[in-house]
């Protein structure tokens, strides 16, 4: 425990490890201010919040608002009228077919059965959403205010910053002895070598601290501009939350019933676990390479490689789903986590499958790395 505390101190005493997260937070604040902090947007969002709380999406309320002289009230009513039938003819098999046609994705055999059954389940979810009334809950009009899109773009940016801080925390400590020319002493005994695990744990621990700082401050800043009182319980599947995405215009179909708050909490947990996973990989790779610079460059290049991998696989087969279950692709899908989006990942909890599989791979990699490091001749 004492060694752990000293390792933490080393990291905390480095000014860079404070300046860099501060820069990240500053950049996030700039982005948030640019997206939702402008005076016009703030005024509109505040007024719209009042309108949403006073009026739901029922016909009686909307018919009153339709002829309103207030521009935002009329817009809200028009939006509800325009999109309230979004669920009426929503057929997930049609959506699947269109995605297959536009993406030249034509599965066959057991893989086709798998995709078809996923979309059958999603169709059942659609029926469930209609029956439960989740489809018509009031929220900021999706296309007008894009709260979901802006929030998850911010989260995506925060995740990149979290990954950088996590890798830096782990690698700074694990490369400390080499940089300060003390490795001959420290790694000359078993006890010194075992200290490497303490460094890894301390790096992961403080990496989480930095991640939490970046994530919480950015989200708090975001929600200081966007009032969410009374809207946390809005189901994400409501047609009001829906946002256009290229050709696609249909509500967010979550694999399980989720409201806005629950989705955000689940996303934060997923982002934190993703950061932990990348920190674990950085530590394991450092045990092999013993050079923080090469490790960091390799992690970045590997991340890009994994991002490109699903594009490289053109075959619509099981391999497509297997390669898509990777951490880089998980990051790329942020904003559509736990929501139907990508054909190859159209099943529930695919995000946590990715994390689970790669945690096992990371743990094995770490064990092999540890074995290699313990026997390494310095």
């Amino acid at each position: 425990m004492r060694a752990f505390r000293f390792e933490l101190k080393k990291l905390l005493n480095d000014p860079l490890m404070w300046v860099l997260p501060a820069l990240f937070v500053g950049f996030d604040f700039f982005i948030v201010f640019h997206e939702v902090g402008m005076s016009d947007f703030r005024r509109d969002v505040k007024e719209m919040h009042g309108i949403i709380l006073e009026n739901d999406t029922t016909c009686e309320k909307i018919s009153v608002l339709t002829g309103s002289a207030n521009v935002l009230e009329a817009y809200y009513a028009g939006y509800v009228n325009g999109y309230s039938q979004s669920y009426d003819s929503l057929d997930m098999q049609d959506i699947k077919q269109m995605k297959e046609d536009t993406g030249s994705f034509h599965p066959s055999g057991s893989y086709k059965e798998f995709i078809d059954s996923n979309y059958d389940k999603l169709q059942m979810r659609v029926e469930e959403i209609k029956v439960s009334g989740d489809s018509a809950a009031a929220f900021y009009p999706g296309d007008g205010f894009a709260i979901h899109g802006k929030l998850y773009s911010l989260l995506k940016l925060c995740i990149i910053e979290m990954l950088i801080m996590m890798c830096f925390s782990v690698l700074y400590l694990m490369d400390f002895e080499r940089i300060n020319h003390t490795e001959d002493f420290v790694f000359s005994c078993e006890c010194g070598r075992e200290n490497m695990l303490t460094k890894l744990l301390a790096g992961l621990f403080l990496g989480h601290g930095y991640s939490a700082m970046i994530l919480l401050s950015s989200l708090l800043f975001f929600f200081s501009f966007v009032p969410m009182k009374g809207l946390w319980n809005t189901p994400v599947s409501s047609f009001m939350v829906m946002e256009h995405s290229g050709l696609w215009e249909y509500p967010f179909i979550t694999f399980v019933p989720l409201n806005f708050g629950q989705l955000l909490m689940l996303s934060i947990v997923t982002a934190t676990l993703l950061a932990l996973l990348i920190g674990l990989f950085a530590g394991a790779l450092q045990l092999f390479l013993h050079n923080s610079y090469i490790t960091m460059v390799s992690i970045s290049a590997g991340y890009f490689g994994l991002l490109a991998l699903p594009f490289a696989v053109r075959k619509a087969d099981w391999i497509k789903t297997i390669v898509a279950l990777n951490p880089a692709e998980l990051w790329a899908q942020c904003g559509r986590w736990f929501i139907e989006n990508y054909l190859a990942l159209s099943f529930a909890w695919s995000e946590w499958w990715t994390l689970g599989i790669w945690t096992v791979v990371g743990a094995v990699f770490l064990l092999v790395g540890w074995r290699y490091f313990r026997r390494k001749d310095f």
Partner: protein, 397 residues
């Protein structure tokens, strides 16, 4: 010179270079528009080929003398299209038997107007003809391109309009902009360049700047930090000859940046060549009045300007990497400082260097953006010069 050559050779080490080559391949595949199978910013895959066909027939510009030949070509294509749809029963039922009527029907269906009997059926049929039919679809998009030229002829070109006629109630546009616009309106030729070839380069430029910055930082940074960690710096500072090496190292870094910029530009040029963009090198880059520039630059000149800006930014990135390397105490600090520094440089160059000489209605910014890019790079060089000057008198303790 021998020392500079050796310094450059030290920077190009196998391991980082191998990682960078893989990274570059992935980056190009993922982020550059030019690396895709077709062209972006076009209505159909055959658009650019058709522009090439027009350029081969009429030359880089379509002039007033060639207008009749152009219209004759258009008419023969319309006849072909009309013949192709003449047997279509759904179109016949709705009285659509010509290209113009087909276009009218499509816009009416999109806007929800028109008194057609079965709108869904007609809409599906028109979509089939435009997007899926292997005979009519290419013809439709070729005619659409030709119609655009006809539209611009009717609206603006080859008239003799005065500046006041064009900008009757405009109080926003600057005098320079009005003058330039009027000059283009009264021009007696129109360029046969597809806007896709300029827009692709415009949008890939910022990504190429990022790529070159990544190359420069990854190659230069570890070497500088490694020297500090291995105690070489103290040895260098202890003699006058040793101190003079700092300047040579900075120069070697700048040359490395230049080389990297050149290498990446060559890769990009190959990609452009493979896509056939070089067929439009002699075309002026103003295809219509939507995007206009202060000068009648040809595509060749436009690419050369981008090349110059890109090379300058690569050198600036290399000098910045040298500065960061000299100031960093360890690898993590080096990477940590590089992230905001490189991001700042890339953001600034992308903003200033994007669409050089683009004419904005309210601003007179023909040279300002280029000057800002050069100024930014000059600041990087000045910072390096200050550091090198300090090196000459720095106390070893």
């Amino acid at each position: 010179m021998r020392i500079i050559t050796k310094e450059i050779r030290k920077l190009f080490r196998i391991k980082p270079a191998a990682i960078l080559v893989i990274f570059t391949a992935v980056f190009i595949r993922l982020f550059l528009s030019i690396a895709g199978t077709g062209w972006n910013y076009v209505n159909s895959p055959s658009d650019v080929d058709f522009y090439r066909e027009l350029a081969a027939q009429f030359g880089p510009e379509l002039t007033t003398d060639e207008w009749d030949a152009f219209m004759a070509k258009r008419q023969s294509m319309i006849d072909e299209f009309n013949a192709a749809i003449s047997q279509d029963k759904i179109l016949q039922k709705n009285g659509i038997d010509t290209f113009d009527k087909c276009v009218e029907a499509r816009s009416a269906l999109v806007s929800g107007d028109g008194s057609y009997t079965n709108k869904d059926e007609l809409s599906d049929e028109i979509n089939r003809i435009i997007f899926y039919d292997s005979v009519t679809s290419p013809m439709y998009f070729k005619l659409q391109i030709m119609s655009e030229f006809v539209h611009f002829k009717g609206m603006t070109f080859w008239g003799s309009k005065t500046q006041d006629e064009i900008f009757k109630k405009d109080t926003v546009s600057s005098e320079q902009y009005k003058k330039r616009y009027t000059e283009l309106v009264n021009s007696n030729s129109v360029s046969l360049i597809p806007s896709a070839v300029t827009r692709t380069v415009d949008n890939d430029f910022s990504r190429m700047v990022i790529l070159s910055a990544v190359w420069c930082f990854i190659m230069i940074l570890p070497y500088q930090i490694g020297e500090r960690l291995k105690g070489v710096r103290e040895l260098q500072i202890s003699s006058k000859t040793g101190r003079s090496i700092f300047g040579k190292q900075a120069f070697a870094c700048a040359l490395t940046g230049l080389f990297t910029g050149g290498l990446l530009s060559a890769i990009y040029a190959v990609l452009l060549y493979r896509k056939g963009a070089f067929d439009f090198l002699d075309c002026v880059i103003i295809p219509n009045m939507r995007i206009i520039y202060w000068f009648d630059l040809t595509y060749r000149q436009y690419l050369l300007i981008y090349l110059a800006v890109f090379l300058i930014s690569s050198v600036a990135a290399a000098i910045l990497a040298y500065l960061v390397g000299r100031l960093s105490v360890n690898y993590i600090a080096g990477l940590g400082i590089s992230i905001p520094t490189a991001a700042g440089l890339c953001a600034a160059v992308s903003k200033f260097g994007y669409m050089p000489f683009y004419a904005h209605a309210a601003l007179i910014d023909s040279f300002v953006k280029i000057l800002l890019t050069v100024g930014l790079c000059a600041v990087c060089s000045a910072a390096a010069a200050v550091m090198l000057k300090k090196d000459k008198v720095r106390d070893i303790l």
